[in-house]
Symmetry: C2
Subunit: 402 residues, 2 copies
């Protein structure tokens, strides 16, 4: 497993449970016939309350999919009773008709749940530019509604139904002292870049959360986790992270406690996405320290994490620190080449901008690679998780439309 983001303070995570671990939630995942393959492609998540506090974080791409435009609107009220998610089509770049499709899907879910459409968020993932087969979507909502359950199996089925090029379903849960819980499901394995990734994530909690604080708690969690996962620098049209709080535990944690639990689940889901990224053979953590500020640290870490020459070298298990230095030096951040240190998997290869040890002394034969760049300028620090650029990545993204 790759180095943990904030691992020292994280609550322990249970990957055997997910979205239905907190009380007050039911879920379902079904094969609605949206995917030609016949695999599961529609999920439903329902918050049975007593509260329905919610928040969302969305892609900042200017080209936003219809479900993102819809869900951003309904989240203004900070309330959600249900979320419907589909794989097999992004419903992005589909014009006014695509937005009507999203609206009709929300109305259908509202109808079967007996709630209002403005209490239903919609998430989609898949190919951009094609309309969804609405007959399959709407009948799938019926099927999913009948399958709704609060069991672990139902939560896992929801995680499976949102997979695209993911090879494994992704879920996680943390149990907190006092009897409240955070759970989540996620999907994403390519087109992953800030802000967020081509990811859909639904987080649930049975904590009592005030509408005033739910948004800040979710943003604090995503900022430290999903926003620092960068697989290929490509930003999706559909990225969505939702948080639904049922209050069923009756416990109202401090905001910091809530944010820590949300961060733990989010960090674990991010690591699952990294481990399952398209064509991944190396799980890479790029940490920058000594930057003039945190934003500079992040800019440099991201530039190195995105660099094709760095990523292909690491695919080849080559500790090519010169490419790392070149990528860092090209980033729009303060950098003094004479103070630049580069350490790979614990071996200081570059000190003060020049060779400190033979490259062969760094062992990159394993799956995990830790790149540490010290800038020697200040106290700014940031870590970005990424993967290598492999034949598998090229194969997966050239041979299939996605």
């Amino acid at each position: 497993m790759s180095p943990l983001l904030g691992s020292e303070t994280e609550p322990s995570v249970d990957r055997g449970a997910g979205i239905t671990a907190p009380s007050g939630f039911r879920a379902a995942g079904v094969a609605a016939g949206i995917k030609d393959s016949g695999k599961p492609d529609l999920a439903l998540v329902v918050n049975d309350g007593p509260y329905d506090t919610a928040a969302g974080v969305f892609t900042v791409n200017k080209v936003k999919a219809a479900p993102v435009l819809w869900s951003e609107q309904v989240l203004r009220y900070r309330r959600l009773r249900g979320v419907v998610l589909n794989s097999g089509g992004a419903n992005a770049c589909t014009g006014p008709e695509g937005f009507q499709d999203t609206h009709a899907t929300a109305e259908k879910v509202a109808d079967v749940l007996g709630v209002g459409a403005v209490e239903v968020a919609v998430c989609s993932t898949g190919l951009i530019g094609e309309r969804l087969p609405m007959g399959a979507v709407l009948s799938g909502v019926n099927t999913a509604a009948c399958a709704l359950a609060g069991t672990a199996e139902a939560g896992l089925a929801a995680a499976e139904a949102i997979m695209t090029t993911d090879t494994k379903p992704k879920q996680a849960a943390v149990y907190r002292p006092g009897g409240w819980t955070v759970g989540g499901i996620g999907k994403g394995s390519g087109m992953i870049a800030p802000s967020l990734a081509t990811m859909l994530v639904v987080l649930t909690t049975d904590a009592v959360v005030e509408p005033d604080t739910v948004d800040a708690a979710l943003r604090a969690a995503t900022r430290a986790t999903f926003d620092r996962l960068d697989i290929d620098g490509s930003m999706s049209t559909n990225d969505t992270v939702l948080l639904l709080a049922s209050g069923a535990s009756g416990v109202e944690p401090e905001v910091d406690e809530l944010a820590a639990a949300l961060t733990a689940v989010s960090a674990d889901l991010a690591r699952q996405m990294q481990a399952d990224a398209e064509g991944v053979t190396k799980e890479i953590a790029v940490t920058v320290t000594g930057a003039a500020g945190e934003s500079d640290a992040l800019v440099v870490a991201r530039a190195v994490a995105r660099d094709s020459l760095v990523k292909t070298a690491l695919f080849g298990s080559d500790p090519n620190w010169g490419r790392i230095a070149a990528a860092a030096g090209a980033a729009p951040a303060a950098l003094d080449p004479d103070r630049l240190d580069v350490t790979i998997n614990g071996v200081l290869l570059c000190k003060g901008g020049a060779k400190a040890a033979e490259r062969s002394t760094a062992d990159l034969s394993g799956r995990d690679v830790v790149v540490h760049i010290e800038l020697g300028l200040g106290t700014g620090t940031a870590t970005v998780l990424t993967t290598d650029l492999s034949h598998g990545y090229v194969e997966e993204n050239s041979a299939y439309s996605s």
Copy 2:
């Protein structure tokens, strides 16, 4: 051949000639033993005058190789009598010792030519972080000095000696009415991004050029050509484009004429680099029109040209305009998704942000791909040349240190 940058107004280019096409220049390329392979690795270019006007454009990477630091300094005087170039080692991230190596190389060239070291520029390309074998370099300068000639063969030998992962030497020349000429050699096939690329280019002319205008003319040429070639978004530590003017023709062209001739040679060398890029199977031109301004057009064109998902789709001959729309929408430029048109190889696939035609109607079976993005906002236009992201690129950059 891919779409020409400014082809309509370009003088015709002769690839059978290069750096020795203009009068007043001699060149040589030899195998000095810097490369383990024994292939040619050291080139010398000499300006015999009567004038020695010169200019240079260099990488904007904050991590600059020793030869870049040296050549930037000597170019302050706008005069060069000679240029020594080596492949087989970048002499980057080599500390004060590396700078002393560059200085010693320039002194050696000055010695054999009977000029001052401040009249000698140095260029290096190859692996970052290793010192050069100075014995080989210095004796190679002697050998090259003996081989100097004003013949076409000598110019081609210089082009061959600066190759790294290039598979072909790159040279070009244009002959202008009135009897003056511009020639050039270049290398570069990966780590190519603005500003400039991992490229070394030496341009020569026998025009009479004033020291006051030489810099502006060179910058105008590079801005429209090398700065708009982006193979992998990775910016080198060693990029250098030099212009040497001998004045041997006795003709002093207008600045616009000179810039046009320099642009023609530079554009042709850039296209040769694109055609010979690492792993290339598609030569891609991304043109953005209708942007709010030229800088916005360039930002969007570059974002699309760099996007791994766009580049892998094009490797797979898949006209996946959704990925193009997503990459454009993620760029930091003004964009209205409802006004976005995407045309690939002449077929309008996306109109007003939604599907306009089946993707299969665009034919990507050939080597050339023209992506045209119309933003519908203003009059800003820019074209960036790139290549696809192929198995060959991954192979070349993972299996070998470079």
